[in-house]
C-alpha cells in the first residue's frame, strides 16, 4: 500500500505558489514513481490477511482487478484534473478553502495515521529479524507482544529507522529508488516459487489450484470478517482513498503536464496492489498448506521459506524504504503545529512513538480495518475540495472561502468533515455497515453538507 502512503515523497518546492511550466513532469516520471511506491512492506501483510478473511479465488482476482481499476479512475478523474488546473499543494489548496486552523487539524489527523502506518512497517521488518535471531513472534490475531526478543527487535529496528528518517532521509530515498526493480522481481519470485510448492506444475492448471488449494473461500479465521467480492473491490479501491478521492495527491499531480497522467497510477496498482498482494497471499497459503496449525502472519518467515536470505532482505528493504518516508511525512505533519521546532527532533520523537506502537501488533493484525479507517477520516476533505472546485461556482457560491474572507477556519468545511465522521461512525457502530464500505456514502454526505453549509455561511457573510 502504501499502501499505501506512499507516493508521495515530500516535495518542498513551490509550497505556496503555482508550479511553473518549466517544472512540469512527463508521464514516465509518474509511472516510475507509482510502480516503486506501491511495493511496500505492508503488501506482505495485506495478501495473507485476504486469505485469513476466507476469500475465494474469483472474488479475490476479479475484486482486485475492478477495485484497482476504480482506484486508477479516481486518480485520473478526481485528483489529477484539479491538480493540473490549480497546480498547488494539497495543504495550500486546503488552506485557501478551509483556513489555517482546519489545515492544522487535518495535519494532526494525517500525522497520527502516518505514525501508526510506520509502526506497521517496522513490525513487518522486525519479523525478518525473528528468522535470524529465532525469538518467538506474535501469532495470528495477537495484539500484545509475546517475547522479550520481539520487543527488543522492534525497538531496535524502530530506533534505527527513526534515526535514519530524521537524519538521513535522502540516503534511504536513494536506496529505495535503487531497490524497487529488485523488490518487484523478488515479489514475482515469491509467487512463482509459492505456486510450485503448492503443486502447480503447469500454468494451465493455475485456476484449478487457485480455487482448490489457495483461495478456497469458506469461513474466515476467528476474529476476521468474511471477505466477498465487494469487500475486496472496495478495499482495493479505497485503500489509497486518502490520496485519490481524499486529494492528498494534488501535491504530486500538480507537476503533471496533462491530467490524464493519473492513469500512471495503474503501474502502482497492478504491480503493488495486484501482483504483490497475490504473491504474498500465495506464500501464506503455502504456509497453511504445509502446516494448517501455523496461522501466524509473519512476512519474515513467509519470505524466507520461499526465497531464503534474498527474501528476508526484501522484507527488511520493503519495510524500511516505506517506513522512512512515512515517518518523515508524519514528522512534517506534526512539525507544522510548532513550525519553530526542530524537524530532526520531531521526526525522531514520531519514530519512537511509532516504534512503541509497533511492539503491539494491533495495527498490523488489523491492517485492513486500519487502512479503511484512514480513508474514512481523510476522505471528507477530498470531497470538500472537489465540491469547492467544481460545484460551488456553478451554484453562485464562492470558492476558496477562507482565503477570500481572511478566516482562519471555514466552518462549512469543518462541520462537513466532523459531521461526516460522526455519520460514518454511527453507520458502522449502529447500522451494521462495515468500515470497508462506509466511505462511499460518506463522500456524498460530505458533499451535500458542504454545499448546504456553504450556502448558509456565505449568505450570513453577505448579510
Amino acid at each position: 500500500m502504501s499502501d499505501q502512503p506512499h507516493s508521495h515523497d515530500p516535495v518542498e518546492e513551490f509550497e505556496r505558489e503555482r508550479v511553473p511550466d518549466r517544472a512540469l513532469l512527463g508521464l514516465k516520471s509518474y509511472v516510475g514513481q507509482f510502480a516503486g511506491e506501491h511495493v511496500a512492506g505492508t503488501e506482505l501483510m495485506i495478501g495473507p490477511l485476504f486469505l485469513a478473511a476466507g476469500v475465494s479465488a474469483f472474488d479475490l482476482i476479479v475484486g482486485l482487478i475492478v477495485g484497482n481499476l476504480l482506484a486508477v479512475l479516481s486518480w485520473t478523474l478526481f485528483t489529477a484534473p484539479i491538480a493540473t488546473r490549480v497546480r498547488l499543494t494539497l495543504y495550500f489548496q486546503l488552506e485557501k478553502i478551509c483556513g489555517r486552523k482546519l489545515v492544522t487539524l487535518y495535519n494532526v489527523a494525517n500525522g497520527v495515521m502516518f505514525t501508526f502506518l510506520a509502526g506497521a512497517m517496522i513490525t513487518v521488518s522486525a519479523t525478518a529479524l525473528g528468522v535470524w535471531f529465532k525469538f518467538p513472534m506474535p501469532g495470528f490475531g495477537d495484539l500484545m507482544p509475546n517475547s522479550l526478543g520481539w520487543v527488543i527487535a522492534v525497538l531496535a529496528a524502530g530506533a534505527l529507522f527513526s534515526f535514519v528518517a530524521a537524519y538521513g532521509y535522502k540516503f534511504v530515498s536513494e536506496f529505495a529508488n535503487m531497490a524497487v526493480p529488485w523488490m518487484v522481481a523478488v515479489f514475482i519470485a515469491f509467487g512463482i516459487i509459492g505456486l510450485r510448492q503448492l503443486g502447480l506444475t503447469s500454468l494451465g492448471d493455475f485456476w484449478h489450484v487457485a480455487q482448490t488449494v489457495i483461495w478456497k473461500g469458506g469461513d474466515p479465521m476467528p476474529g476476521q470478517v468474511k471477505f466477498t467480492f465487494w469487500h475486496v473491490m472496495f478495499f482495493a479501491w479505497f485503500c489509497n482513498m486518502a490520496w485519490h478521492i481524499g486529494m492528498a495527491d494534488l501535491s504530486l499531480f500538480r507537476y503533471a503536464k496533462k491530467s490524464w497522467y493519473g492513469i500512471a497510477s495503474a503501474a502502482g496498482m497492478f504491480i503493488g496492489h495486484f501482483m504483490a498482494w497475490i504473491a504474498a497471499s500465495i506464500l501464506y497459503a503455502l504456509q497453511l498448506h504445509q502446516d494448517p496449525t501455523n496461522t501466524a502472519v509473519l512476512p519474515g518467515p513467509l519470505a524466507y521459506r520461499a526465497c531464503g536470505i534474498a527474501g528476508l532482505l526484501c522484507v527488511i528493504a520493503a519495510g524500511w524504504t516505506t517506513a522512512n518516508p512515512t515517518l518523515y511525512r508524519a514528522g512534517l505533519a506534526f512539525q507544522s503545529l510548532v513550525p519553530s521546532s526542530s524537524r530532526f527532533r520531531v521526526t525522531l520523537l514520531t519514530g519512537l512513538v511509532a516504534s512503541v506502537t509497533a511492539v503491539f501488533p494491533l495495527v498490523t493484525m488489523k491492517l485492513l480495518d486500519f487502512v479503511a479507517l484512514w480513508g474514512m477520516i481523510l476522505m471528507p476533505m477530498g470531497a470538500v475540495i472537489f465540491v469547492d472546485f467544481w460545484v460551488l461556482p456553478r451554484l453562485g457560491l464562492r470558492s476558496n472561502f477562507a482565503e477570500a474572507t481572511g478566516r482562519s477556519i471555514n466552518w462549512a468545511a469543518g462541520l462537513a468533515w466532523f459531521l461526516t465522521m460522526a455519520v460514518c461512525t454511527a453507520l458502522v457502530q449502529f447500522a451494521g455497515v462495515q468500515i470497508y464500505f462506509v466511505s462511499l456514502p460518506g463522500w456524498f454526505v460530505t458533499a451535500i453538507l458542504y454545499v448546504a453549509l456553504s450556502k448558509l455561511w456565505q449568505k450570513k457573510e453577505a448579510v
Binding site: M178, W182, I193, G308
Partner: protein
C-alpha cells in the same frame, strides 16, 4: 564503466527472477534457487549505484 554497471544490473535482475522460473520447471532445487537469488541480489546492489540516477523525490 556506467554502461557495464547497467548491463550487470539488468543481468542481476534477470538472475533474481530466473531461479524461480527454473525451480518452477524443476531445473533447480529450492536451495539452489535461493542461493542464486542471493548472488543476484548482491550483484544488483553493487552494480546499480554506479548508474542509477540519484533522486530523492
Amino acid at each position: 564503466m556506467k554502461r557495464i554497471a547497467e548491463i550487470l544490473s539488468w543481468i542481476a535482475l534477470a538472475v533474481t527472477l530466473a531461479p524461480a522460473c527454473l525451480f518452477f520447471v524443476d531445473k533447480l532445487d529450492l536451495a539452489q534457487a535461493q542461493a542464486w537469488m542471493l548472488v543476484a541480489t548482491v550483484l544488483w546492489f553493487i552494480a546499480t549505484p554506479f548508474w542509477m540516477e540519484h533522486k530523492a523525490s
